[in-house]
Structure formats: structure tokens, C-alpha cells
């Protein structure tokens, strides 16, 4: 993208609440932003370090619950609760990262699913802490000094800042020796070790940063919807994140964001375009078509068609064993 394009995009983002007056659209944009953070976070682990985590909703949910519980039960204000949400999610990421050292590919996938399953069941059954399946209503809106970020426009800026921060963190990591070490592990792990990449350190780092970012997304979600229930651990949330990352273009910086916008808008567009019987059927079918025609994701496809390179950039197969 040219500097001009980037500037226009930034200007559009910053002024968005002024020209997108309809709060419903703004709601969709905010959800897209929250999922953008989540997709960026998953992409770090899946797209760069090459570890497919299907338990990512666990980090998201841990962030959401931590933030909600601290503000509701301990009456913390939003910002320290947010920090705690990030920290606790990061700690969970550390555990998963340590597991990833022993398990790769399909086995890692399953252990992450199981991890999320256990956390989810804890959230349902540990009534004293989590209020069980009833969930936690009335999560307060965040404050910034004297201002309450209760309005959609204000929350939009909070989410925008979070997306920008997450994007910046990803970008700096990816374009540093750390990001190169992630990619080295994805591409060829024995070779990466032979040139001195410490597998333990970098896999755990990738998992921790990724989980922390998902925790950020979770906290933002909790304070936006003002309600947290065990459904945040639903497998569909993880599936949505994976769809966003892979369809948008894994291992690219812009891919997850494009995916997040598209796949937040798509169900809402289908809500408007089709009656409810057809919405999910159409969603599934469109997903199949999209993967079928753009197997490597939207962003790599666009980059390839603009740069004139052949499409055959073989993303390495994520090693199964």
C-alpha cells in the first residue's frame, strides 16, 4: 500500500464515527475491531509460529471473565482490570506454550481444544466465582479519567487504539529477529535450532504474546457487551477467529484484520439480505467457496495479483508431526 493509501485509511478510521452515524454500523465496526485484535493474536501463533491453536477462545474468555469479575466483584476500575486480564491470559498462554514444546500439529490442536474445554466447564461449574451459566451481567463501561467511555463513538476509539496497538506489536515483532525466529520454527524447526533459535523460548514467547492479546480482546468484549457468560468459551468463537485468520491470509499483517472485518460484516449482511433460515447455510457455503477459490487467503491473493507474481507461493505445510 502506498503512503497515500495508508494516510487515507488512517484518516478514515480516525474520523469514522463522524460520517458513519448509524450506531448499528458502528456496532458492527466495534465488533470487527475486537475480533481484529483476536485474529491478530491468533495469527501470531498460527500464521507466524505455525502452531494451530484451537483453544484460543480460552484466552479470550479468561480475559473477559478476569476483567468482568474484577470490576464487578472487587470494584476495580477498568484499566487495572484490563491489565490483569492481559496478565492472566498471558499466564494461561505460558502453560499452553510449555505444552506446545512437547506436542506439535494435530496433537497440539487437540490439547488446545481440551484446555479450552476444561476452562469452559470450570466457568460453568464454579458457581461461587463465575456465577455459572447465568453469566455476569452489568459489567461497567470503562472510564478514561473524568470521561465515561459509555457511548459507541468513545468505545470505538478505545477499540481502535487496541487494534492499532496490537497491530503495532505484531508488526514490530514480525519485522524483528523475534518474528524471524517464529517463522523459522514454522518453516523448518530442526533447521531453526541448528542456527541457534531456542525453540522453548520462542514458542513460549509466541504463545504468551498471543494469549495476552486475546486477553485484551476479551476484556474489550466484556466491557462492550456488558455481559459475560460461559458462551465466550464456545468453540464457535475459536472457529470464527480461525476463519478470519486463514481466509484473510495467515502469516500476513493485514490478513487477519481484513478477515475480521469481512467475517464480522458477512453475518450481519446476511441478516439483512436473507431470512434467518438461509443465513448460516449461506455463511457456510460462502466460506467453502472462499477457501476453494482463495486457498491462501485474501491478502496474499491480492498482493500476488498486484505484484504479478504467480500464485504459487507455497506456504509451507504446517507440520503435522
Amino acid at each position: 500500500m502506498t503512503a497515500l493509501g495508508r494516510g487515507l485509511l488512517a484518516a478514515a478510521m480516525v474520523t469514522l464515527p463522524f460520517w458513519l452515524a448509524d450506531p448499528y454500523y458502528l456496532h458492527v465496526v466495534i465488533m470487527a475491531g475486537i475480533f481484529g485484535v483476536l485474529a491478530l493474536s491468533l495469527n501470531l501463533l498460527l500464521g507466524y509460529a505455525g502452531q494451530l491453536s484451537l483453544g484460543h477462545a480460552a484466552f479470550f474468555g479468561i480475559g473477559a471473565y478476569t476483567s468482568a469479575l474484577l470490576t464487578l466483584k472487587r470494584e476495580w476500575s477498568f484499566w487495572p482490570a484490563l491489565a490483569a486480564a492481559i496478565a492472566l491470559a498471558a499466564a494461561a498462554g505460558w502453560i499452553i506454550g510449555r505444552l506446545a514444546l512437547k506436542l506439535r500439529g494435530a496433537y497440539f490442536v487437540l490439547v488446545t481444544i481440551s484446555f479450552a474445554g476444561v476452562i469452559s466447564l470450570v466457568s460453568v461449574n464454579w458457581i461461587e466465582l463465575t456465577n455459572g451459566p447465568l453469566g455476569l451481567p452489568g459489567v461497567p463501561a470503562p472510564d478514561l479519567g473524568p470521561w465515561s467511555l459509555r457511548t459507541k463513538a468513545a468505545y470505538y476509539y478505545l477499540v481502535l487504539a487496541a487494534v492499532a496497538l496490537s497491530y503495532a506489536v505484531c508488526r514490530r515483532l514480525v519485522r524483528s529477529r523475534i518474528g524471524r525466529a517464529f517463522v523459522a520454527l514454522r518453516e523448518n524447526e530442526p533447521l531453526a535450532e541448528s542456527i541457534g533459535v531456542d525453540v522453548t523460548h520462542y514458542l513460549v514467547l509466541a504463545a504468551v504474546v498471543s494469549a495476552a492479546m486475546a486477553g485484551l480482546g476479551g476484556s474489550l468484549y466484556a466491557h462492550y457487551t456488558r455481559f459475560v457468560s460461559p458462551e465466550v468459551f464456545l468453540f464457535t468463537y475459536t472457529v470464527t477467529m480461525v476463519i478470519m485468520v486463514v481466509a484473510g491470509g495467515k502469516g500476513t499483517l493485514a490478513g487477519p484484520l481484513v478477515g475480521a472485518v469481512l467475517f464480522t460484516a458477512l453475518p450481519e449482511a446476511l441478516r439483512l439480505a436473507a431470512s434467518w433460515q438461509w443465513q448460516m447455510l449461506a455463511y457456510g457455503s460462502l466460506l467453502v467457496l472462499l477457501v476453494f477459490f482463495l486457498p491462501r487467503g485474501i491478502v496474499p491473493q491480492i498482493v500476488a495479483s498486484f505484484s504479478g507474481h504467480p500464485r504459487s507461493a507455497p506456504t509451507s505445510r504446517t507440520p503435522l508431526q
Partner: protein
Amino acid sequence: MDQLLQHLVNGLVLGGTYALLGIGLTLIFGLMNVVNFAHGEFYTLGAYVAFAALTLAGVNFIVGILAAIVAGAALGWLCEVTLLRPLRNESIDTTMLVMIGVWIAMQNGELLVWGGVAKSIPHPFPTAPLVMGPVAIAPLRVIVLVLAVGLIASSWLLIHQTKLGRAMRATFQDRDTAALMGVSIGRVHAATFAFGSALASAAGALLGPVFLAYPSMGDLASLKAFSVVILGGLGNLTGATVGGLLLGIAEELGAGYISSGYRDAVGFVIIIMVLVLRPSGLFARQERIG
């Protein structure tokens, strides 16, 4: 003690069905490297085909199950040829995503066709339980267990005694070498997917009468099937069989003696422990098919 025996019998029957689900998936997962999230949808398909055959067409129970097997195999084959074959050189998460799409589309298609109301599938067996001392079990469940064992045994024969089975095993060991030896990888993949889907479909047709048929019934089935695959090791039929039984019994005992709210957690925790302690599954000394 009486309670323990009943728990063990319950677990055995439940585990047999888990095993049947796991076998189909372990072949697809192990041999094709496809994380098949639509596996449970073939299970659902089997239940609905059996329902349609038994109530609408009015055929007998065994014919209904055969119809489900044929439908599962046909749709599985179609799915492989049209969707997975063109993507064979893509990464594992691309094919996974396509199967996620199939999962969503199939489930909502079923909702559209059959409605959300659960269907009860009729069966010709008596409902009065068989009683052996302190243990009670429905005749239908015994039949299901017997048929499941039969299907597992035929799968074993197919893998070990037929030319297709040899080709499948060779492909699992080393796809490139198998191709050099004249194995048609495309045909093996299509056959594997059709076979795995047919097994899932058969499981649905068998369990439909025990439980009920409804559109989202496949979600839990998929999850259990994945657990079984991991417990048993990729591509390991024996592992999937034993893993299924173990998972069934463990869940049953967990729910019986720990807490029913954490019933599914028992399965998850076992998986995590197995993976951490024995990363290639309980039974895989080295990975193999068969």
C-alpha cells in the same frame, strides 16, 4: 459395588459408539492429514437417512443402516473429489477451513430440511431391559454394541486383507514412495474419505434409535471422535477402538464418582494428561495405520 458394575457396563456401551466414531476419523485424519470438522455431520446424516428410510420408506432396520452407510460413503466420496482433491497441496488449516464450511453448511441444511425438532427413530427391538444381577441394559444397546463390533472388525479386515487396505497403509507410511510404487493417491484418498464417512454415518444410524436425530447432534460426536483419535494415536485402528472404550468408561466413572457437571472435563483432562505424558497417543509405539 452394584453401582460400579452398572457404571462399567454403561461405559462399555458408550465407549463402543465412541470407538466407531473415532475409527472413521482416525483414518481420514491420519492418512489424509485433514482435520475433518464435518465428521460429526456424516454422523447426523446417517441418523437422518436411517430415519427417512425407516419411517418414510418403511424398510427394515438393517436395510435402513445399509442405506445410511451407502449415503455416507457417496457423500464422503463426493466431498473428497470436489472439495479436498483440488486443495490437496494446501496447508492443513486450509483444508480444515473448508471442512468447517462444510460443517456449518451441512448442519444448517439439515435444519432447513428436517426442522429443529428432534426425530425419534423407530426400531423393532423390545424396550424392556435385559437384567443380569445388578446390571440392566436395553436390548437395543446390546444390538448396537454387537453391530459396532462387527463394523470395527470389518474395517480391520478391509485395512489388513484387501488391496485397497494395503494401498492405504502404504500411503500412510510414505505418500511419495506409495505413489512411486504405483498407488493412485487420489483414489486412495477418495476411498479413505468415503470409508471414514460411511463409518460415521453408520454410527449415526446405529445411535439414532438409541438417542434422537437432530441437526446439532454431530457437534458432540465430532469432539468425542477427535478425543478418541488422539487417545489412540493417528491412524491406529486398535488404538481408536481401545481409546473409545477407555474414554467411555472414564467419562462414566468421572460423572458417577466425581461430578456430573464436570463429566466432559474428565475426557479433556485425560487427553491432556495422555498428550503430555505420551505425546503420540496411548497405543502408538510408532505411528502406523492398521
